[in-house]
Protein backbone atom coordinates (compact mmCIF):
# COMPACT_ATOMS: atom_id res chain seq x y z
CA UNK A 1 0.00 0.00 0.00
CA UNK A 2 1.24 3.48 -0.80
CA UNK A 3 1.97 6.01 1.91
CA UNK A 4 -1.05 7.98 0.88
CA UNK A 5 -3.38 4.99 1.15
CA UNK A 6 -1.99 4.10 4.58
CA UNK A 7 -2.42 7.67 5.69
CA UNK A 8 -5.97 7.75 4.39
CA UNK A 9 -6.98 4.53 6.20
CA UNK A 10 -5.42 5.73 9.43
CA UNK A 11 -7.22 9.03 9.02
CA UNK A 12 -10.51 7.21 8.53
CA UNK A 13 -9.88 5.14 11.65
CA UNK A 14 -9.14 8.28 13.69
CA UNK A 15 -12.40 9.85 12.60
CA UNK A 16 -14.44 6.67 12.97
CA UNK A 17 -13.20 5.98 16.50
CA UNK A 18 -13.68 9.55 17.59
CA UNK A 19 -10.05 9.90 18.63
CA UNK A 20 -9.88 12.08 21.74
CA UNK A 21 -7.02 14.24 20.50
CA UNK A 22 -8.78 14.80 17.22
CA UNK A 23 -12.09 15.71 18.89
CA UNK A 24 -10.34 18.11 21.22
CA UNK A 25 -8.72 19.93 18.31
CA UNK A 26 -11.95 20.05 16.31
CA UNK A 27 -13.90 21.31 19.29
CA UNK A 28 -11.46 24.09 20.04
CA UNK A 29 -11.34 25.15 16.39
CA UNK A 30 -15.12 25.41 16.21
CA UNK A 31 -15.40 27.29 19.49
CA UNK A 32 -12.73 29.79 18.50
CA UNK A 33 -14.07 30.41 15.00
CA UNK A 34 -17.71 30.74 16.10
CA UNK A 35 -16.74 33.10 18.92
CA UNK A 36 -14.62 35.14 16.52
CA UNK A 37 -17.42 35.43 13.96
CA UNK A 38 -19.88 36.37 16.70
CA UNK A 39 -17.60 39.07 18.07
CA UNK A 40 -16.81 40.35 14.59
CA UNK A 41 -20.53 40.41 13.71
CA UNK A 42 -21.42 42.50 16.76
CA UNK A 43 -19.05 45.18 15.53
CA UNK A 44 -18.82 44.64 11.78
CA UNK A 45 -22.49 44.37 10.83
CA UNK A 46 -23.73 47.56 12.55
CA UNK A 47 -20.65 49.36 11.25
CA UNK A 48 -21.35 48.18 7.71
CA UNK A 49 -25.00 49.21 8.02
CA UNK A 50 -24.06 52.64 9.34
CA UNK A 51 -21.64 53.11 6.43
CA UNK A 52 -24.49 52.19 4.07
CA UNK A 53 -26.89 54.70 5.62
CA UNK A 54 -24.95 57.66 6.93
CA UNK A 55 -23.36 60.41 4.87
CA UNK A 56 -20.50 62.20 6.58
CA UNK A 57 -17.07 63.57 5.70
CA UNK A 58 -14.54 60.77 5.53
CA UNK A 59 -17.12 58.13 4.71
CA UNK A 60 -15.48 57.39 1.35
CA UNK A 61 -12.12 56.86 3.00
CA UNK A 62 -13.68 54.54 5.58
CA UNK A 63 -15.33 52.48 2.85
CA UNK A 64 -12.03 52.12 0.97
CA UNK A 65 -10.21 51.21 4.16
CA UNK A 66 -12.79 48.59 5.10
CA UNK A 67 -12.58 47.07 1.64
CA UNK A 68 -8.79 47.06 1.78
CA UNK A 69 -8.76 45.41 5.22
CA UNK A 70 -10.66 42.45 3.75
CA UNK A 71 -7.33 41.44 2.25
CA UNK A 72 -5.39 41.82 5.49
CA UNK A 73 -2.82 38.98 5.51
CA UNK A 74 -3.49 36.73 8.52
CA UNK A 75 0.17 36.66 9.55
CA UNK A 76 0.22 40.46 9.68
CA UNK A 77 -2.95 40.51 11.78
CA UNK A 78 -1.37 37.84 13.98
CA UNK A 79 1.80 39.84 14.37
CA UNK A 80 -0.11 42.99 15.36
CA UNK A 81 -2.22 41.15 17.92
CA UNK A 82 0.94 39.45 19.18
CA UNK A 83 2.58 42.83 19.77
CA UNK A 84 -0.53 44.12 21.53
CA UNK A 85 -0.88 41.09 23.79
CA UNK A 86 2.76 40.28 24.48
CA UNK A 87 3.98 40.85 28.04
CA UNK A 88 5.54 44.20 27.17
CA UNK A 89 2.66 45.25 24.91
CA UNK A 90 -0.17 47.64 25.85
CA UNK A 91 -2.54 44.77 26.67
CA UNK A 92 0.16 42.51 28.10
CA UNK A 93 -1.17 42.80 31.64
CA UNK A 94 -4.14 40.60 30.77
CA UNK A 95 -1.86 37.65 30.02
CA UNK A 96 -3.84 36.63 26.96
CA UNK A 97 -1.03 35.68 24.61
CA UNK A 98 -1.00 31.97 23.72
CA UNK A 99 -4.56 31.45 24.94
CA UNK A 100 -7.72 30.61 22.97
CA UNK A 101 -8.95 34.15 23.74
CA UNK A 102 -6.01 35.57 21.82
CA UNK A 103 -6.95 33.40 18.86
CA UNK A 104 -10.54 34.62 19.01
CA UNK A 105 -9.31 38.21 18.99
CA UNK A 106 -7.00 37.60 16.03
CA UNK A 107 -9.69 35.88 13.98
CA UNK A 108 -12.26 38.53 14.87
CA UNK A 109 -9.86 41.20 13.61
CA UNK A 110 -9.56 39.30 10.34
CA UNK A 111 -13.29 38.68 9.97
CA UNK A 112 -14.75 42.04 11.06
CA UNK A 113 -13.63 43.96 7.93
CA UNK A 114 -15.10 41.23 5.73
CA UNK A 115 -18.45 41.44 7.50
CA UNK A 116 -18.40 45.25 7.45
CA UNK A 117 -17.44 45.57 3.79
CA UNK A 118 -19.83 42.93 2.47
CA UNK A 119 -22.75 44.08 4.59
CA UNK A 120 -22.10 47.72 3.63
CA UNK A 121 -22.25 46.78 -0.04
CA UNK A 122 -25.38 44.70 0.31
CA UNK A 123 -27.26 47.05 2.65
CA UNK A 124 -26.44 50.08 0.55
CA UNK A 125 -28.44 48.54 -2.30
CA UNK A 126 -31.32 47.96 0.10
CA UNK A 127 -31.02 51.50 1.44
CA UNK A 128 -31.42 52.85 -2.12
CA UNK A 129 -34.81 51.19 -2.13
CA UNK A 130 -35.80 52.12 1.44
CA UNK A 131 -34.36 55.60 1.93
CA UNK A 132 -37.24 57.78 0.77
CA UNK A 133 -39.94 55.73 2.49
CA UNK A 134 -38.00 55.62 5.74
CA UNK A 135 -37.30 59.34 5.62
CA UNK A 136 -41.04 59.84 5.18
CA UNK A 137 -41.49 57.81 8.39
CA UNK A 138 -38.91 60.13 9.96
CA UNK A 139 -36.53 57.27 10.70
CA UNK A 140 -33.11 58.46 11.87
CA UNK A 141 -29.85 56.92 10.63
CA UNK A 142 -29.49 55.21 14.03
CA UNK A 143 -32.95 53.69 13.68
CA UNK A 144 -32.29 52.72 10.06
CA UNK A 145 -29.34 50.52 11.09
CA UNK A 146 -31.40 47.90 12.98
CA UNK A 147 -34.11 48.11 10.30
CA UNK A 148 -31.64 47.30 7.54
CA UNK A 149 -29.90 44.59 9.54
CA UNK A 150 -33.20 42.88 10.24
CA UNK A 151 -34.56 43.24 6.71
CA UNK A 152 -31.23 42.07 5.27
CA UNK A 153 -31.06 39.05 7.56
CA UNK A 154 -31.24 36.52 4.73
CA UNK A 155 -28.39 38.02 2.73
CA UNK A 156 -26.40 38.70 5.90
CA UNK A 157 -26.37 34.96 6.56
CA UNK A 158 -24.22 34.60 3.44
CA UNK A 159 -21.99 37.39 4.69
CA UNK A 160 -21.57 35.60 8.05
CA UNK A 161 -20.69 32.42 6.18
CA UNK A 162 -17.97 34.22 4.27
CA UNK A 163 -16.63 35.37 7.62
CA UNK A 164 -16.77 31.89 9.09
CA UNK A 165 -14.98 30.52 6.05
CA UNK A 166 -12.18 33.00 6.53
CA UNK A 167 -11.90 32.29 10.27
CA UNK A 168 -11.93 28.52 10.06
CA UNK A 169 -9.48 28.34 7.15
CA UNK A 170 -6.73 30.67 8.28
CA UNK A 171 -3.51 29.43 9.88
CA UNK A 172 -1.14 32.33 10.20
CA UNK A 173 -2.83 34.47 12.82
CA UNK A 174 -3.78 31.72 15.26
CA UNK A 175 -0.36 30.12 14.86
CA UNK A 176 1.35 33.34 15.98
CA UNK A 177 -0.93 34.39 18.82
CA UNK A 178 -1.98 30.91 19.93
CA UNK A 179 1.42 29.29 19.76
CA UNK A 180 -0.01 25.91 18.65
CA UNK A 181 0.34 24.49 22.15
CA UNK A 182 -0.63 20.83 22.29
CA UNK A 183 -3.93 20.33 24.09
CA UNK A 184 -4.46 24.03 24.64
CA UNK A 185 -4.28 26.20 21.53
CA UNK A 186 -3.90 23.60 18.81
CA UNK A 187 -6.41 24.21 16.00
CA UNK A 188 -7.26 22.11 12.97
CA UNK A 189 -5.32 24.33 10.59
CA UNK A 190 -2.25 24.71 12.79
CA UNK A 191 -2.18 20.97 13.45
CA UNK A 192 -2.43 20.22 9.74
CA UNK A 193 0.49 22.55 9.09
CA UNK A 194 2.55 21.05 11.90
CA UNK A 195 1.82 17.38 11.24
CA UNK A 196 2.43 17.80 7.52
CA UNK A 197 5.84 19.32 8.12
CA UNK A 198 6.62 16.49 10.58
CA UNK A 199 5.57 13.97 7.94
CA UNK A 200 2.71 12.60 10.07
CA UNK A 201 0.13 12.59 7.33
CA UNK A 202 -2.75 10.56 8.88
CA UNK A 203 -3.69 13.13 11.52
CA UNK A 204 -3.26 15.96 9.01
CA UNK A 205 -5.46 14.18 6.50
CA UNK A 206 -8.09 13.32 9.08
CA UNK A 207 -8.25 16.93 10.24
CA UNK A 208 -8.34 18.16 6.65
CA UNK A 209 -11.31 15.91 5.95
CA UNK A 210 -13.11 17.01 9.11
CA UNK A 211 -12.47 20.65 8.27
CA UNK A 212 -13.95 20.16 4.81
CA UNK A 213 -17.01 18.40 6.21
CA UNK A 214 -17.58 21.14 8.78
CA UNK A 215 -17.33 23.93 6.23
CA UNK A 216 -19.66 22.07 3.87
CA UNK A 217 -22.07 21.28 6.70
CA UNK A 218 -22.27 24.84 7.96
CA UNK A 219 -22.89 26.05 4.42
CA UNK A 220 -25.56 23.43 3.82
CA UNK A 221 -27.43 24.34 7.01
CA UNK A 222 -27.27 28.03 6.18
CA UNK A 223 -28.39 27.34 2.62
CA UNK A 224 -31.39 25.38 3.87
CA UNK A 225 -32.34 28.11 6.34
CA UNK A 226 -32.05 30.72 3.62
CA UNK A 227 -34.15 28.68 1.23
CA UNK A 228 -36.88 28.17 3.80
CA UNK A 229 -37.18 31.82 4.69
CA UNK A 230 -36.81 32.96 1.07
CA UNK A 231 -39.80 30.83 0.16
CA UNK A 232 -41.78 32.73 2.78
CA UNK A 233 -40.45 36.18 1.95
CA UNK A 234 -40.72 35.99 -1.82
Amino acid sequence: MSDLAIAATTALRLVAHGDAGLLQIVGLSLRVSFAAVLAAALVGLPFGALLAVARFPGRGALVIMTNALMGLPPVVAGLLIYLLLSRSGPLGAFGLLFTPTAMVIAQAVLVAPILAALSRQMLEAMWDEYAEQLRSFRVSAWQAVPTLLWDGRLALLTVLLAGFGRASAEVGAVMIVGGNIDGFTRMMTTTIALETSKGDLPLALALGAVLMVIVLGVNAVAQAARGASARWAG
Binding site: Y130, R135, S136, T147, G152, A233, G234
Partner: protein, 240 residues
Protein backbone atom coordinates in the same frame (compact mmCIF):
# COMPACT_ATOMS: atom_id res chain seq x y z
CA UNK B 1 -62.66 64.69 17.75
CA UNK B 2 -59.42 66.59 17.51
CA UNK B 3 -58.43 68.55 20.56
CA UNK B 4 -55.08 69.73 19.22
CA UNK B 5 -55.08 72.72 16.85
CA UNK B 6 -54.83 71.87 13.16
CA UNK B 7 -51.54 71.95 11.24
CA UNK B 8 -53.52 73.30 8.28
CA UNK B 9 -53.67 75.50 6.31
CA UNK B 10 -50.39 74.67 4.65
CA UNK B 11 -49.00 77.64 2.78
CA UNK B 12 -46.38 77.41 0.05
CA UNK B 13 -44.95 80.64 -1.32
CA UNK B 14 -42.83 80.98 -4.45
CA UNK B 15 -41.67 77.37 -4.42
CA UNK B 16 -38.91 76.75 -6.94
CA UNK B 17 -37.02 73.55 -7.42
CA UNK B 18 -34.03 72.87 -9.60
CA UNK B 19 -32.07 69.66 -9.96
CA UNK B 20 -28.87 69.41 -11.97
CA UNK B 21 -29.57 72.65 -13.79
CA UNK B 22 -33.11 71.64 -14.79
CA UNK B 23 -35.92 73.78 -13.41
CA UNK B 24 -38.80 71.59 -12.31
CA UNK B 25 -40.98 74.03 -10.36
CA UNK B 26 -41.14 77.78 -11.08
CA UNK B 27 -42.66 79.82 -8.29
CA UNK B 28 -45.60 77.78 -7.02
CA UNK B 29 -47.94 79.54 -4.57
CA UNK B 30 -50.42 77.16 -3.00
CA UNK B 31 -52.62 77.14 0.09
CA UNK B 32 -53.94 73.77 1.23
CA UNK B 33 -57.00 74.05 3.50
CA UNK B 34 -58.59 71.36 5.60
CA UNK B 35 -61.53 69.70 3.87
CA UNK B 36 -62.13 67.38 0.93
CA UNK B 37 -59.13 66.06 -1.05
CA UNK B 38 -56.91 68.42 -2.98
CA UNK B 39 -55.92 66.82 -6.28
CA UNK B 40 -52.76 67.97 -8.01
CA UNK B 41 -53.48 67.41 -11.66
CA UNK B 42 -51.30 67.75 -14.72
CA UNK B 43 -49.51 65.88 -17.48
CA UNK B 44 -46.44 63.75 -16.86
CA UNK B 45 -43.40 65.84 -16.04
CA UNK B 46 -45.44 68.80 -14.83
CA UNK B 47 -43.71 68.60 -11.45
CA UNK B 48 -46.54 67.01 -9.45
CA UNK B 49 -44.42 64.47 -7.57
CA UNK B 50 -41.72 67.03 -6.83
CA UNK B 51 -44.34 69.41 -5.44
CA UNK B 52 -45.62 66.68 -3.12
CA UNK B 53 -42.10 65.81 -1.96
CA UNK B 54 -41.37 69.47 -1.25
CA UNK B 55 -44.57 69.85 0.78
CA UNK B 56 -43.83 66.63 2.69
CA UNK B 57 -40.27 67.75 3.39
CA UNK B 58 -38.47 65.00 1.47
CA UNK B 59 -36.91 67.62 -0.80
CA UNK B 60 -35.75 71.10 0.06
CA UNK B 61 -36.91 73.91 -2.25
CA UNK B 62 -34.25 75.85 -4.19
CA UNK B 63 -36.16 78.95 -3.15
CA UNK B 64 -39.49 79.80 -1.63
CA UNK B 65 -40.94 78.67 1.65
CA UNK B 66 -43.46 76.34 3.24
CA UNK B 67 -45.37 77.28 6.37
CA UNK B 68 -47.73 75.33 8.62
CA UNK B 69 -50.39 76.60 10.98
CA UNK B 70 -48.45 75.11 13.89
CA UNK B 71 -44.81 74.31 14.65
CA UNK B 72 -43.09 72.44 11.81
CA UNK B 73 -41.96 69.47 13.94
CA UNK B 74 -45.56 68.91 15.01
CA UNK B 75 -46.75 69.26 11.41
CA UNK B 76 -44.25 66.66 10.18
CA UNK B 77 -45.32 64.27 12.91
CA UNK B 78 -48.97 64.48 11.86
CA UNK B 79 -48.52 63.87 8.14
CA UNK B 80 -47.47 60.89 6.10
CA UNK B 81 -47.04 59.92 2.48
CA UNK B 82 -47.88 56.91 0.32
CA UNK B 83 -45.76 56.50 -2.76
CA UNK B 84 -46.61 55.32 -6.24
CA UNK B 85 -44.68 52.13 -5.61
CA UNK B 86 -44.67 51.80 -1.84
CA UNK B 87 -41.65 50.18 -0.23
CA UNK B 88 -42.56 46.90 1.41
CA UNK B 89 -40.21 45.99 4.24
CA UNK B 90 -38.97 42.39 4.18
CA UNK B 91 -41.34 41.47 6.97
CA UNK B 92 -44.89 40.32 7.50
CA UNK B 93 -47.90 42.40 6.52
CA UNK B 94 -48.59 43.12 10.19
CA UNK B 95 -44.99 44.12 10.91
CA UNK B 96 -45.09 46.48 7.94
CA UNK B 97 -48.25 48.15 9.20
CA UNK B 98 -46.77 48.51 12.69
CA UNK B 99 -43.29 49.67 11.63
CA UNK B 100 -43.75 53.48 11.49
CA UNK B 101 -45.47 53.45 14.89
CA UNK B 102 -42.65 51.32 16.32
CA UNK B 103 -39.94 53.73 15.15
CA UNK B 104 -42.03 56.59 16.52
CA UNK B 105 -41.64 54.88 19.89
CA UNK B 106 -45.20 53.69 20.56
CA UNK B 107 -45.60 50.67 22.84
CA UNK B 108 -45.52 47.31 21.08
CA UNK B 109 -49.03 46.23 22.03
CA UNK B 110 -50.60 49.49 20.95
CA UNK B 111 -48.75 49.27 17.60
CA UNK B 112 -50.04 45.76 17.10
CA UNK B 113 -53.66 46.54 17.83
CA UNK B 114 -53.69 49.73 15.77
CA UNK B 115 -51.95 47.92 12.89
CA UNK B 116 -54.50 45.10 13.00
CA UNK B 117 -57.36 47.57 13.04
CA UNK B 118 -55.92 49.37 10.01
CA UNK B 119 -55.45 46.06 8.19
CA UNK B 120 -59.07 45.13 8.86
CA UNK B 121 -60.11 48.50 7.50
CA UNK B 122 -58.35 47.89 4.14
CA UNK B 123 -59.38 44.23 4.06
CA UNK B 124 -55.97 42.66 4.65
CA UNK B 125 -56.47 41.35 8.19
CA UNK B 126 -56.46 37.70 7.07
CA UNK B 127 -53.06 38.23 5.42
CA UNK B 128 -51.42 39.72 8.53
CA UNK B 129 -48.90 36.88 8.85
CA UNK B 130 -47.90 36.71 5.19
CA UNK B 131 -44.77 38.25 3.73
CA UNK B 132 -45.58 41.76 2.51
CA UNK B 133 -43.40 41.35 -0.56
CA UNK B 134 -45.52 38.43 -1.70
CA UNK B 135 -48.65 40.58 -2.00
CA UNK B 136 -50.02 41.75 -5.36
CA UNK B 137 -49.51 45.35 -6.41
CA UNK B 138 -53.01 46.34 -5.34
CA UNK B 139 -52.66 44.59 -1.98
CA UNK B 140 -49.31 46.29 -1.42
CA UNK B 141 -50.88 49.68 -2.06
CA UNK B 142 -53.69 48.88 0.36
CA UNK B 143 -51.10 47.82 2.94
CA UNK B 144 -49.28 51.11 2.40
CA UNK B 145 -52.57 52.93 3.04
CA UNK B 146 -53.19 50.86 6.17
CA UNK B 147 -49.64 51.66 7.33
CA UNK B 148 -50.45 55.35 6.85
CA UNK B 149 -53.87 55.08 8.49
CA UNK B 150 -52.44 53.42 11.60
CA UNK B 151 -50.50 56.61 12.21
CA UNK B 152 -53.82 58.52 12.32
CA UNK B 153 -52.37 61.41 10.31
CA UNK B 154 -54.08 64.74 9.90
CA UNK B 155 -52.62 65.09 6.40
CA UNK B 156 -51.94 62.33 3.87
CA UNK B 157 -49.91 62.83 0.70
CA UNK B 158 -50.56 60.33 -2.09
CA UNK B 159 -48.29 60.24 -5.11
CA UNK B 160 -50.09 58.62 -8.06
CA UNK B 161 -51.46 55.88 -5.79
CA UNK B 162 -53.10 53.92 -8.61
CA UNK B 163 -50.73 54.58 -11.52
CA UNK B 164 -49.55 50.99 -11.76
CA UNK B 165 -52.76 49.23 -10.72
CA UNK B 166 -55.55 47.47 -12.64
CA UNK B 167 -59.13 48.84 -12.52
CA UNK B 168 -60.42 46.70 -9.65
CA UNK B 169 -57.39 47.46 -7.47
CA UNK B 170 -57.80 51.11 -8.41
CA UNK B 171 -61.44 51.04 -7.24
CA UNK B 172 -60.40 49.53 -3.92
CA UNK B 173 -57.70 52.17 -3.39
CA UNK B 174 -60.06 55.01 -4.32
CA UNK B 175 -62.64 53.74 -1.83
CA UNK B 176 -59.99 53.77 0.92
CA UNK B 177 -58.88 57.28 -0.05
CA UNK B 178 -62.48 58.49 0.07
CA UNK B 179 -62.77 56.86 3.49
CA UNK B 180 -59.67 58.73 4.69
CA UNK B 181 -61.33 61.97 3.66
CA UNK B 182 -64.62 60.98 5.28
CA UNK B 183 -62.75 60.42 8.57
CA UNK B 184 -61.50 63.98 8.48
CA UNK B 185 -58.01 63.32 7.19
CA UNK B 186 -56.89 65.89 4.63
CA UNK B 187 -55.75 64.15 1.43
CA UNK B 188 -53.39 65.78 -1.06
CA UNK B 189 -52.84 63.53 -4.05
CA UNK B 190 -51.33 63.69 -7.50
CA UNK B 191 -52.84 61.93 -10.46
CA UNK B 192 -52.88 62.22 -14.19
CA UNK B 193 -56.14 60.23 -14.28
CA UNK B 194 -58.97 62.68 -15.00
CA UNK B 195 -61.72 60.27 -13.97
CA UNK B 196 -60.04 59.73 -10.62
CA UNK B 197 -59.69 63.46 -10.11
CA UNK B 198 -63.41 63.96 -10.84
CA UNK B 199 -64.35 61.20 -8.41
CA UNK B 200 -62.19 62.35 -5.49
CA UNK B 201 -61.29 66.01 -5.76
CA UNK B 202 -62.72 68.78 -3.63
CA UNK B 203 -60.37 71.24 -5.24
CA UNK B 204 -57.90 70.92 -8.10
CA UNK B 205 -54.42 72.36 -8.42
CA UNK B 206 -53.43 72.20 -12.08
CA UNK B 207 -49.70 72.10 -12.75
CA UNK B 208 -48.15 72.50 -16.15
CA UNK B 209 -44.48 72.97 -16.99
CA UNK B 210 -43.59 73.60 -13.37
CA UNK B 211 -46.17 76.36 -12.91
CA UNK B 212 -49.38 76.24 -10.94
CA UNK B 213 -51.85 77.47 -13.55
CA UNK B 214 -55.07 77.02 -11.60
CA UNK B 215 -56.22 76.16 -8.09
CA UNK B 216 -60.00 76.12 -7.79
CA UNK B 217 -62.92 74.04 -6.51
CA UNK B 218 -63.17 70.88 -8.57
CA UNK B 219 -66.57 71.65 -10.11
CA UNK B 220 -65.37 75.08 -11.33
CA UNK B 221 -62.19 73.60 -12.72
CA UNK B 222 -63.89 70.81 -14.63
CA UNK B 223 -66.78 72.96 -15.93
CA UNK B 224 -64.96 76.15 -16.83
CA UNK B 225 -61.18 75.73 -16.92
CA UNK B 226 -59.56 79.14 -17.10
CA UNK B 227 -56.27 78.36 -18.82
CA UNK B 228 -55.90 77.08 -22.39
CA UNK B 229 -53.55 74.35 -21.07
CA UNK B 230 -56.18 73.06 -18.64
CA UNK B 231 -58.84 73.24 -21.38
CA UNK B 232 -56.65 71.15 -23.66
CA UNK B 233 -55.79 68.73 -20.85
CA UNK B 234 -59.46 68.23 -20.02
CA UNK B 235 -60.23 67.56 -23.69
CA UNK B 236 -57.69 64.76 -23.50
CA UNK B 237 -55.11 66.40 -25.73
CA UNK B 238 -51.51 65.45 -25.17
CA UNK B 239 -49.64 68.14 -23.34
CA UNK B 240 -46.01 68.42 -22.45
Amino acid sequence: MRITPSILPLTAEGLCFEARGVTILRGVDLVVQAGPPTVVLGPNGAGKSVLLRLLHGLLAPSSGRIAWAGPEAEARRRQTMVFQRPVMLRRSVLANAAYPMRVAGLPRLECRSRALEALRWVGLADMAGRSARRLSGGEQQRLALARAAALAPELLFLDEPTASLDPSATRAVEAIVADFAARGCKVVMTTHDLGQARRLAGDVAFLHGGRLLEHRPASDFFNTPASPEATAFLRGELLW
